[in-house]
């Protein structure tokens, strides 16, 4: 059973359906007690960094996420569920993130001819293609992105994949033990996204 963190920030149906579609039973985690019988925690997010941090705090789920990741239990963060792991974001100056991973979230620099948000399908290059996360995926991996900010981890060792946008090569995924987090949306990335989720569940130690 996998838990999908629901801190009241919008529609999580697509994530729920995507997890179901790859054969993993799942439920929503709305209180810390809901997490008692789950093996993996999925943290989807979309919207505003500061608002999401506030909502997460108000939901009483903040400590759950912190402990879960610190104990290296299987975690999958998507978009804001990736960005919020870091210390801060240029989107919301002065607001502290979860601070579980050193580094901050920065904005793509504005320049003539550069479209922001970075929206659409872009290539994702794993730093370790032999990681079972990427098993069975084609050589050229396109995932769906929609974001104006991206995390810059202090320690490049945790970079799980890179993506280039407008000359900015950023960490589009991180992999740290049992924690995986992506800037792109697997739940919106058709067959490739489902394959990645399936691999994530298969990769969980028994």
């Amino acid at each position: 059973m996998t838990g999908i963190l629901d801190y009241g920030a919008g529609n999580l149906q697509s994530v729920f359906k995507a997890v179901q579609a790859v054969g993993e039973p799942c439920k929503f985690v709305r209180t810390p007690d809901d997490a008692s019988d789950i093996r993996a925690l999925l943290f989807p997010g979309q919207g505003h960094f500061g608002d999401s941090i506030r909502q997460l705090k108000n939901s009483g789920l903040w400590d759950l996420v912190v402990e879960w990741v610190r104990e290296d239990r299987p975690y999958f963060g998507i978009c804001l569920g990736y960005q919020m792991l870091f210390e801060s974001s240029e989107e919301s100056p002065g607001i502290k993130g979860l601070g579980l991973i050193p580094g901050k979230v920065v904005r793509f620099p504005s320049a003539p001819g550069i479209k922001i948000p970075h929206m659409g399908w872009n290539t994702v290059e794993p730093t370790d293609p032999s990681d079972p996360l990427w098993l069975g995926l084609p050589e050229e991996k396109h995932f769906y992105f929609v974001h104006s900010f991206y995390p810059a981890p202090t320690d490049p060792q945790i970079d799980g994949a890179h993506t280039d946008y407008t000359g900015n090569r950023f960490a589009s995924a991180i992999v740290k033990g049992n924690a995986v987090a992506t800037q792109f949306h697997p739940e919106k990335s058709q067959a490739l996204g489902l394959a990645l989720l399936k691999n994530f569940f298969a990769r969980i130690p028994a």
Binding site: N11, K17, K115, P117, G120, L137, Y165, S189, L194
Partner: protein
């Protein structure tokens, strides 16, 4: 590399696709959910539902269509038509849409764009602009399917929508729409240069060459097309093949083995 997007658009009224689609393998060509699934399989990069239902009570039908589609298609979905308030946006987003398209309401009440962007993030807001040429290198914004002229300059309007928090512009040329003679390249390029957000070109696609033209010369980030795909003239895969051969970055289609 970020690829250019091909976005089929389905016009829906009272829960049915207008005129239907012409895919051989569909049981019910008028069913929007079945058509969406077919486009998902074809490798469309996103999908747009345009709700042209006249009556407001039939909107509930659209909510059901969106929910059923989102449960089966793991791809970005935009819903436009009749979105007037932040509450309308919320309903569609909660039903499973990733983005909502706003057209007339952005003109009658521009603050709805600021409010929507604050509430749901700019990535969820697509502002649709219907533009018609004045014949002198300027374009005005029209409403009601091109019938009502407003005093708004299309380029300036696109910039204002960008400032107010739109995440994307869906730009339809009322001159080109329905002609199958190609997109309005000049209009699209002018708007694309004027805003920082992505621009989806719409109106006028008759051949695959037209898609290439507006992506190259029109500087569009994505193309919206309806009839060239619905009636089986071309598949999304054929479009991607041609555009790739022209050097336009396209996402290859991948199916799980």
């Amino acid at each position: 590399m970020l690829t250019k997007r091909i976005i089929p658009c389905l016009d829906v009224t009272d829960g049915r696709v207008v005129k239907g689609t012409n895919f051989v393998d569909l049981r019910d060509a008028g069913d929007p959910v079945e058509s969406a699934v077919a486009y998902n399989k074809q490798g469309a990069d996103e999908l747009v539902f345009l709700d042209i239902t006249a009556s407001s009570d039939a909107r509930n039908t659209m909510v059901d269509v969106v929910a059923a589609t989102a449960a089966q298609c793991f791809m970005p979905l935009t819903v436009g038509g009749g979105i007037r308030t932040v509450e309308d946006m919320r309903r569609m987003l909660l039903a499973g849409a990733d983005k909502v398209g706003v057209n007339t309401a952005a003109i009658t009440n521009p603050d709805v764009i600021n409010d929507g962007a604050d509430m749901f993030g700019c990535q969820a807001l697509v502002v649709a602009i219907d533009a018609k040429s004045n014949g002198d290198g300027t374009w005005n914004v029209y409403t009601h399917g091109g019938r009502n002229r407003t005093e708004l300059d299309a380029i300036e309007w696109a910039k204002e929508m960008n400032r107010r928090g739109a995440g994307e512009i869906l730009l339809t040329s009322m001159d080109a729409d329905g002609t199958k003679n190609g997109y309005d390249i000049e209009l699209t390029a002018r708007v694309s240069d004027a805003v920082e957000i992505p621009v989806i070109a719409s109106g006028g696609a008759g051949t695959l060459e037209h898609l290439a033209e507006v992506l190259e010369n029109g500087k569009a980030d994505a193309v919206l097309a309806a009839s060239i795909f619905h009636f089986g003239d071309f598949t999304v895969a054929q479009a991607k093949d041609l555009l790739s051969s022209r050097g336009i970055p396209m996402r290859p289609i991948f199916t799980l083995s």
